[in-house]
Amino acid sequence: MTITTNAAALALGDDALVLSHRLGEWAGHAPVLEEEVALANIALDLLGQARVLLSLVGDEDELAYLREERAFRNLQLVEQPNGDFAHTVARQLYFSTYQHLLYGQLAAGGGAFAPLAAKAVKEVEYHRDHAEQWTLRLGDGTAESRERMQRGLDALWRFTGEMFQPVEGVDVDTRALEDGWLESVTSVLERAALAVSDGPRTGAWAAGAGRQGLHTEPFGRMVAEMQHLHRSHPGATW
């Protein structure tokens, strides 16, 4: 239950970096002011985690801004476009539940990464709670919100299998991770009167694709936007 390699730090760092970027796209577009604050808050936490993890590997900006799309190791789940608010909440529920359990294991496992995981797990607990509360409100709100929430959950379901593929250097019990995740997500969805999706959970290529640098098409455009300014001024400091 430790994290030992650059590959591991890169995979988890990229997850946080990419999801933070997606949440940053919400700024100025949220349904209520309180959500402007909350989504930015979560994005900032994730960006903080990304910076710590990427810095374990090398220069955070070189890694964020100068790698090609094929060199990113994030899950395909986190790169999915925001969609409507329910779609974003579904992505947050799936990912924050995973991250909470993962960091919980890493924090308990000792090793060099444990203090970082212990700090992150507190933030992620808040993210998970935020996603859960909104899943309940949207699932058990109006007919429209229920339909949208179910649609978001269903659309993202196929990207969830990837979270439980082994990652080099992340020594966790993936079986326990997957069982815990299913149990937690199922319990929230039951309380929200929503259905656990069925169908394959193999992502756009195969489970584990994002970790191998195989991404979905919207990701390339996201990376282009993220990197263009940095790349336009080689060697500049900001």
Partner: protein
Amino acid sequence: MATVAADHTTYEAAFDAAVAADERIEPRDWMPDAYRASLVRQMAQHAHSEIIGMQPEANWITRAPSLRRKAILMAKVQDEAGHGLYLYSAAETLGTGREELLDKLHSGRQKYSSIFNYPTLTWADVGAIGWLVDGAAITNQVPLCRCSYGPYARAMVRICKEESFHQRQGYELLLALSKGTPAQHAMAQDAVDRWWWPSLMMFGPPDDESAHSEQSMAWKIKRHSNDELRQRFVDICVPQAEALGLTLPDPDLKWNEERGQHDFGAIDWTEFWDVLKGNGPCNEQRISQRRRAHEEGAWVREAAAAYAAKHAQKHGLKHGEATA
């Protein structure tokens, strides 16, 4: 009726005495209707400016050139949403509601600061906004910390602390660019050239054309005139621009030994009134985005309300008590 009239006079005298003694007016105190209306107008416009002001900066969140800058910018835009929340809450103490105020913003019946109708065309604009726009806002807002209306004054104390932090960050961003590559320096200069005059316009029309100034000063909502604050801002900015290694785009700008202040060139008031009337570069875009976010978020707010109502009922409360 005679008693009411007598009471009214007594109340008004008590109000005037409190203002004269620099005491704070609180939500439950009697206040003239016009004072209330003037405060609602100003605080609402202030809150709207925070909310609309998120847009030009959020425009660069996804393109910020380093992770450190990205984190700073995200935190700043988040702070602005928070400032909007404080200010709407403060305005609500005067008997209005956030929904009503947002509705007035969306329908164009209430305004926001004209500065946010200018576009952010390069990364350096983020720095220019921090240095100049936040700088002008602080110059305007620090005296509001002593405003006669308590909830507004207290909101401003909190807001000014964060604003001055943003301003320093903007300055530091521009300094990094100015001392960077020639292309970065040029980017910084171009941004300052475009934001300087609009920033001076943030202090409002000249004193002889300012509709609300005199009354606001009598009520101690405002403490200084528009022109006075504008002058103060220019005097602060000149040495800062020098330290930045950037120039200000005004050939008439020079130190006046006699006045002990800077003389500066004439502001293009035609442009100011044009932007205020809705004809600036981004007026349409800013208000459309705000309306769209609100309209597209309607189903989310309805869901939250329906959920709250259902769960209040489950706990044996009547509908309507849920949010009480």
